[in-house]
Symmetry: C2
Subunit: 80 residues, 2 copies
């Protein structure tokens, strides 16, 4: 798989055929994007379905990853 | 801060005044949402700006967290 987009964004991972996690430099600020893409005229384009986190928001987010794992388990138990 | 939304979704963390990470049970499937909210008629509502990951997508995503951290550092060095 490609490691960079044509515009220099770093491709971190493909979550599904249409969803990607990328890192971009937007006017000197690093953004972490989790976004769905669509194809138009043979080109892949970012859709509105997604979110771009600032480095600060990413930092709070990454700290809550263990909490997310716990909550998923809790939710899965609850729904059985 | 609240731990649950009125509809039973688990609130994991607040990324900014308008952005939240929540876990919801959607028709028996667990979804991890990172989303921006807006207020209408005194009620907070989810906007289109955001993404909801399936448990499977969350799993690939969480595995790439260390890679994201590395890429952020790489990007920050590049832009200086």
């Amino acid at each position: 798989p490609k490691e960079y987009e044509d515009n220099g964004d770093i491709i971190i991972c493909q979550l599904s055929s249409k969803r990607k996690v990328t890192i971009q430099d937007f006017k000197g600020k690093v953004l972490v994007s989790i976004r769905e893409y669509y194809e138009k005229d043979g080109e892949e384009r970012p859709s509105n379905k997604g979110i771009s986190l600032t480095a600060e928001q990413w930092s709070s987010f990454s700290k809550s990853v263990p909490g997310i794992e716990q909550a998923i388990k809790k939710m899965q138990t609850r729904s059985r």
